[in-house]
Structure formats: structure tokens, C-alpha cells
Symmetry: none
Subunit: 119 residues, 4 copies
Amino acid sequence: MNFQNDKAIYIQIAEFVMEKILRNEWVSDSKIRSVRDLGAELEVNPNTVMRAYDLLQNQDIIFNKRGLGFYVAAQARESVIQLKRKQFLEIELPRIFITMELLGISPEEIIENYKTRVS
Amino acid sequence: MNFQNDKAIYIQIAEFVMEKILRNEWVSDSKIRSVRDLGAELEVNPNTVMRAYDLLQNQDIIFNKRGLGFYVAAQARESVIQLKRKQFLEIELPRIFITMELLGISPEEIIENYKTRVS
Amino acid sequence: MNFQNDKAIYIQIAEFVMEKILRNEWVSDSKIRSVRDLGAELEVNPNTVMRAYDLLQNQDIIFNKRGLGFYVAAQARESVIQLKRKQFLEIELPRIFITMELLGISPEEIIENYKTRVS
Amino acid sequence: MNFQNDKAIYIQIAEFVMEKILRNEWVSDSKIRSVRDLGAELEVNPNTVMRAYDLLQNQDIIFNKRGLGFYVAAQARESVIQLKRKQFLEIELPRIFITMELLGISPEEIIENYKTRVS
DNA sequence: GTGGTCTAGACCACC
DNA sequence: GTGGTCTAGACCACA
């Protein structure tokens, strides 16, 4: 992890975890790194890691066992996909529509392109 | 300019120039920064800037007056839009379709979303 | 606000805001206190207020206008009720069932009690 | 004990004692702390402790041996449960029904929830 | 002025 | 050991 782009660090950490889950590298019920541990490795404040974990917990992607640590939730992968769907539809799609308008690309042109791709 | 993402620096410089033109901050026939000048400010090799200008010249976005420097082309804005259209349709759009497939989002869902936005 | 009970301060602040909305004292689209302002009055760190507002924003109860402040969301009251429903069903109800079991109270006894109340 | 909530202190002391009995930490016929002793530790007036003990004695939860102190009654645990049953049915349950009405939660929804929990 | 992010460091409860 | 909360203070972007 390089934290090179302009997204907040805690967002990048959350996306890192989600990527691991999406790739099935981190599976349900397995323990993930502790906030102190991961914070030390990434050289960020544990609070920043905590914020990432908090976000993931709110999305039912990880859960906490008191005094033990965070674990990957049972339906974690599905939750990640669900969250990404939401982000795509609410954030990326509007941007795409704006770009299309700016570049004078009509929906019909997209559909044409899509059909060509499928056929 | 930060050169923080993973794109080549000369690409980022070209995009920086195109952005200026798109926003009408740099207009047709006006002179743009010299290769040496811009290279010094951005702390990159003048050759890198030259590569960016070369790319823009090939797309009819800027042109060169020998011994004088580079100038914004007459139809620069249109050329930029044309270039971006091409990039959008050939590079971004395929990526979007892949993401949609990955997240299980159907074209119908997009169309529905688009109509809601318009109404 | 006294922060007398054992709940986290940021939770109490969020509940304070939700109470205002439930009572229709704070209505949709009206601006709410800034994080600095409310933090100063309650003598807590602005970050703590921010955490409360963050929670409320995630629940679509308030929203942010950049550089201007937080505002009560359009469907804020409905969102508050929705959130409280969830809390009741997932947190309070299980506790009630545990208490019932501990005190040897059967569901039938509750139903009997409920009917008496209704009639 | 913190005396942080809004209940009267003597009530909280009585509940503290009942909790001990419920958890079988204080068993029948064992002597409990003296009024002066407990009052000193909790930094409250002995009269306040006395009021709590008086309440418990009226409910047959503790009894007094003159000149010796207070002892846990034979059927203390059953008496505590009996008292809490009464409190639950007469005080908490009405509040629960009010909350349910406020949040638009039907008894059917509760039953459904209960079945899911049992199964 | 507004929020948003991050750090350093503290204290707490739970296990 | 684990997370959870809070503070003080900093710097940033946006308007």
C-alpha cells in the first residue's frame, strides 16, 4: 500500500481489505490484523485503521469479538459486492453521464457500442 | 500537478494542457509555456514535456511555430473533445462494462437509472 | 445535555439531534449547528460532534453542503424512525426476551397482558 | 456503583443488592453489609442505605436480626424474581407497547421475530 | 467560515 | 492483549 492517490487513507485501507475478501484471500470467520498491528506496519495512526474497520463493520463486512479482534463476516463477499454496486450506481454512473454529456456522446451510441461488443 | 498516480508523466502533462483548453483557459492561437520553462517548473526533464507536446501536436491540439514556440490550434477544443471521445469509447467504456458484469449490473438497470435522473 | 449515562458522548449527541427531528423542532432543509459551534457549547471536542454527525449522515438523517454546514435531510424523520425500529428489533427486543426467560414470563402471558390493555 | 442515572439513590442500592442475590453471589441466611458500613463506602448517608434495606425487607428479600444486622431471606431469590416480574409487567411492558406503537411495530412482527430467534 | 482527515497520546472495558 | 472513546491540535479543500 502506497497511499499515493488522493483518497483518504482510511478509505484506501478499507478498499484494501475488501479487495482481499473479493479475491477470496481473506475468508469468512478468519481474524484480520489488529488495528495497532496494521497501523504500525502501514505507519499510520491506529485510529486511522480503526476508522477503516469501523466503516467495514457498518457494512457488515467484518465484525468484532470483544477483546479478541476483528473477523471477516459470514456474508462479507456479498456485502462487498453490494457496497460496490451502490458506489457504482450513485457515484461513478453520474460521473459517466456527465462525461458523456460533455463529450456529446448519446446513450444510443453506447448501446450501439455495447451490441458490437456482444456480437 | 503532483504526478501521484500511475500514469506516465508525459501523459499527465498532456492531460493538464487539454484540461486548460477544455475549460477555455487557454484559447486558440495563444502561446503556451515553453518546453524548458514548463520542464523547470514541474521539475521534469524538458524531453518529457516535449513528448507531451508532440502527442498533442499529433492530435492537432497544438502546433509549432519554428523558433517561436507552441500555440493552441484553431480547432483545439474540438480536437480535445474528439480525442477524449475516442478514449472514453475505447478504453473507459470497456472497463465500465467489465465492472458492470462483475457487480451483476444489467444494462436495463442503467437505463432505468438514467431515466430517473432525467425526469 | 448532561452526558450522565454510560453511553458514548457521540451517541448521545446523535440521539439529541434525532429527538429534535422526531419532535419536529428541527425540520427538513434547515441548517443545524456547526461541529465547532456545538462542540464549544457542549464542551466536547469538535471531533466528537463530527463523529455524531457522521453517524447521522450515514443514516440519511442529515446531509452536508460543502463549506456551508450540515442540514436536516428531506426524509430525516422517516430515517430516524427506521433507525429506531432497527435498534428496537435488534438490540432491545433480544434483551427483553432474555429478561422474560430469566423471570419465567411466557409469551402467552404477554399476549394476555396486551389483550387486557387493548380491551 | 456510580449513581449516574436519574433513579433515586436508594432505589439503585436496592437494585444493587437484588442483582447480587439474582447472581447467587449473596445467598440465603448470609449477612449483608451494615448500613453504616455500606453508607461509608458509597459515600451516602446511612439513612439512604436504610431506606433501601427497608424496601427490600418489605419485599421479604432480606430480614433483620435485632442488634446483629440484615440477612438474606430464605426465599430471597424467588422474591426478587417476583418483584422484577411485577415491575416488568406493570412498568416496562407498557413502555414497550408505547414504543412499538410509536415506531409502527405490530405484535405480529414481534412474534415473527421471536420464532426466528427460537428456530 | 465550513467540514474532513490525520496524528499522538490518553484512559477505559473486556478477555 | 484487543477494540472504543475522547482530546488537543494540526493541516487541508471548499465557498
